[in-house]
Symmetry: C2
Subunit: 158 residues, 2 copies
Amino acid sequence: MQDAAHRPETASELPPPLNADEEVLMRSLSRVIYALPRALDADMAREQRLPLIEYQALMNLSEAPGRQSRMSDLATACEMSLSGMTSVVQRLEGQGFVRRVKCPRDGRAWNAVLTDAGLARLEEAWPTHLASIRRHFLDHLAGLDLHALGVALRDVAT
Amino acid sequence: MQDAAHRPETASELPPPLNADEEVLMRSLSRVIYALPRALDADMAREQRLPLIEYQALMNLSEAPGRQSRMSDLATACEMSLSGMTSVVQRLEGQGFVRRVKCPRDGRAWNAVLTDAGLARLEEAWPTHLASIRRHFLDHLAGLDLHALGVALRDVAT
């Protein structure tokens, strides 16, 4: 217990306070966390009548092997709860963009499968989403090292 | 209508597709938007028994003139709905960290006021939040130009 590192409540245990650049960055971050998803969703709803979360579900399925995914995996990929994802997939199913089938490896689980109509809907909506992420996000980052930034952010909160 | 820029459905109207660096960045972004707030909230809940949103409300009030803010302004600052913010402030009021008073300039509106106990709670919780944003976010960005990044992100989705 002589070691300062093990004494609680000492100044040495406080992390260094934010410097000016870190302070600006942390304040800007709420634009990314809250305002950006709202702006992307508003564009998709207005121009495509397709909420961002439904677009994200279609996109994830299009990239999955056999264009299908267990509901729980799809929920994780879309950063949603399983019950939230179930509602999203039910809406997509009602529009003919997704089918649900029993999971071949686990009879109690369901897979969501992207239909041809769902793939066509995704392709139709993609230019809107692309323009939206360029306008609301990527255009603001002109001149920055996007490679380094992308690699750095990949491990955030792991 | 001779102008190609005004003809719809032409290739020239499609925004350029994402390059490899932009693709990685957009995939990493979901870590920031979804995983980071969850990680910060989990740290605050575990180490401080103070949900991140309550911490953010106390922090915003501490920086407001007279340590008070109209409920609607506080909701906007915390990126919440007014009804959501009302619930948060009611919980903080129940713990003695916030008082609600009639807004002196608008008798129909309410101001939230940070109490001395609320300020002390904020100061107690601050080291946890600081360590948390360093560990989950800032430490990952070592070597990047944080000044340029912070300035760039400030205008995202405006």
